[in-house]
């Protein structure tokens, strides 16, 4: 911070030390697991930390040969993308309405959704299952997507309402006086200016939806509809004592998000901040 007084040399050293220490705290466990995924079981026990005796891709090869990983990727992608799209559409409409409504109606709507963030999902697992089952949607991606939309919508409403609170009311009012109806105000003004927080919520939520385990576990039976985390859980059952194999599974399941993160790192970070601070 340039406006602060020049920091003493010890301060700089201390700062670097802290930063590097925490960086190692993240890198070391992750790299141990990455290395372990290239080892064989016996190699891992003799030498849990170091370099593998020989880099062997056999765990990955077996994983890909045995499992319909492509299908799981596809399912996870489909579920994540459609959930996010619907959530963004629904919650931006909702947040805009909450922004426009005054008084108790806004409070009740906002409260209803904010309360949803507090409900632990373990609570309504069984009632949700009975409902989905009554609707004939168990073991279908449609059912899973419908439930995911509803479970994660409160977070999006929270972020987007937070952002929209900061929109200049005069601008919106001026637009409606111009004779534009609500829909075109929403499309022409509100959507464009809330793009940063929309994309932010999209990324924030896609991490959550992609990694969700509870509802896929509850709702999906057949292997052609499994998502990646669900498959990961099954690897664990199948290769119980085989850590390297499980770690290979962990890495395969995490890979898409990690790649997306490396490519789009800035947007991930913005995802967390938008709305949450401006509110």
């Amino acid at each position: 911070m340039k406006h602060l007084r020049k920091e003493a040399l010890t301060g700089v050293v201390l700062k670097k030390f802290i930063l590097i220490f925490y960086a190692l705290l993240i890198l070391v466990p992750v790299s141990i697991v990455v290395l372990a995924s290239f080892k064989q079981m016996t190699d891992l026990f003799k030498n849990p930390i170091g370099w593998p005796e020989q880099f062997s891709l056999s765990n990955y090869i077996e994983m890909f040969r045995e499992q319909s990983l492509g299908q799981y990727f596809l399912n996870s992608t489909l579920v994540t993308l459609s959930t996010i799209l619907f959530i963004l559409f629904f919650s931006s409409l909702l947040s805009y309405a909450i922004f426009r409504f005054s008084g108790w109606l806004a409070v009740i709507l906002y409260g209803l959704f904010a309360a949803g963030m507090m409900v632990p999902p373990q609570v309504n697992m069984i009632p949700i299952y009975s409902l989905v089952s009554d609707l004939g949607l168990t073991n279908s991606l449609t059912g899973l997507i419908a439930v995911s939309i509803s479970i994660f919508m409160p977070v999006a409403v929270f972020i987007l309402s937070g952002f929209m609170k900061s929109m200049p009311k005069e601008m919106i009012e001026a637009a409606s006086i111009d004779g534009a109806n609500e829909w075109s105000t929403y499309c022409r003004i509100v959507l464009p200016i809330s793009m940063p927080s929309l994309s932010a919520s999209a990324i924030f939520l896609s991490v959550m939806v992609w990694n969700d385990l509870l509802f896929p576990l509850l709702l999906i039976n057949s292997s052609d509809k499994k998502t990646l985390p669900l498959a990961l859980l099954q690897f664990q059952g199948e290769f119980m004592t085989n850590f390297p194999m499980i770690f290979a599974g962990v890495i395969i399941a995490s890979a898409p998000m990690v790649i997306a993160y490396v490519a789009l790192q800035r947007y991930f970070v913005e995802g967390v901040t938008a709305g949450s601070v401006k509110g």
């Binding site: 911070m1 602060l4 697991v33 632990p120 939309i149 829909w183 995490s254 967390v272 509110g279």
Partner: protein, 289 residues
């Protein structure tokens, strides 16, 4: 501000989905909490407030789980908030190395909690575990512990993992909050001869109160819901020492086949979270004004 009837249509699709797939099942849970339903059969009896009485007066494990949960929450909220704030301050400037460190610190956030649990269960393992081995190599054998197997320690080990996984995310929120503070404010106090600490106390802290509110509220709710992590690392053991409310509810429902009682516990759980978050908002709001 006037608004047209179209706005009601705006609310409809989202509200409909939410009411159908979330609110209705939750209310269903409320109804169940007054029954002795065991989870499968179609027969059940109304039991009035029995489940609630049992939860409050005749269930030591519920008390244990609540205590553990508060302990876990306190540790996670205090450490996660302060660590993320410290790193946000250290990494505030958008220099190349700072951006790199921020990206790295944020990284654990994107790994699923079940994967995080696998990673740390392996690191903490006392027999093949890496942590005790590394401590030994560094000549710190004395610090080696039974990280997840010692009932006094296990909950703190998991709290550590929780902070590890999410501090980076919270840091990013603080960075954004800090970067939105106008520089003139600092210039003004430094002109008045303020120390760094005074500048922090009088400018930074009040100005990041909104961000802090978000961080604390979010961390609190997350720490109450830390189900996946505990479930995959210790399952609530040893000796109930890492049983928190969400795992206990799960055990009551699915191991104990007592859905009615589990539903009552869930309602109690929601009330507790609501009270705590409301209290925090009050406290932090009071601070910022």
């Amino acid at each position: 501000m006037k608004h047209s009837k179209t706005l009601y249509l705006f609310v409809l699709p989202g509200l409909f989905m939410y009411l159908l797939f979330f609110v209705y099942p939750t209310l269903n849970g409320l109804v169940l909490s007054f029954t002795d339903w065991e989870g499968i059969s179609s027969h059940w009896n109304w039991v009035g407030f029995d489940n609630y009485k049992r939860m409050l007066f005749n269930d030591d494990i519920f008390q244990t789980a609540l205590t553990n949960n508060l302990k876990f929450m306190l540790v996670v909220v205090i450490f996660q908030t302060s660590i993320s704030l410290i790193f946000a301050i250290l990494l505030l400037k958008n220099s190349k190395s700072n951006v790199f460190f921020r990206a790295l610190y944020f990284f654990p956030t994107i790994i699923s909690s079940i994967s995080v649990a696998f990673i740390w269960a392996f690191v903490f393992n006392p027999n093949v575990g890496v942590l005790n081995l590394l401590l030994g190599k560094a000549g710190l054998e004395a610090l080696a512990q039974n990280w997840l197997g010692d009932p006094k320690l296990a909950i703190y080990s998991i709290a550590f993992v929780k902070v590890w996984a999410h501090a980076g995310q919270m840091m990013v929120i603080f960075v954004a909050g800090l970067q939105s503070i106008p520089e003139e404010l600092y210039e003004a106090v430094y002109l008045d001869g303020a120390t760094n600490w005074q500048a922090f106390k009088n400018v930074t802290w009040p100005m990041i109160a909104p961000a802090a509110t978000i961080v604390v509220a979010y961390t609190t709710i997350q720490s109450f819901k830390a189900f996946d992590l505990i479930f995959a690392m210790t399952g609530g053991g040893p000796i109930y020492s890492t049983e928190i409310l969400s795992t206990y509810i799960y055990h009551t429902a699915f191991q104990g086949s007592e859905f009615g009682y589990a539903a009552a516990q869930s309602m109690g759980f929601m009330v507790i979270i609501a009270l705590i978050t409301m209290g925090q908002f009050k406290l932090l709001k009071g601070r910022s004004s």
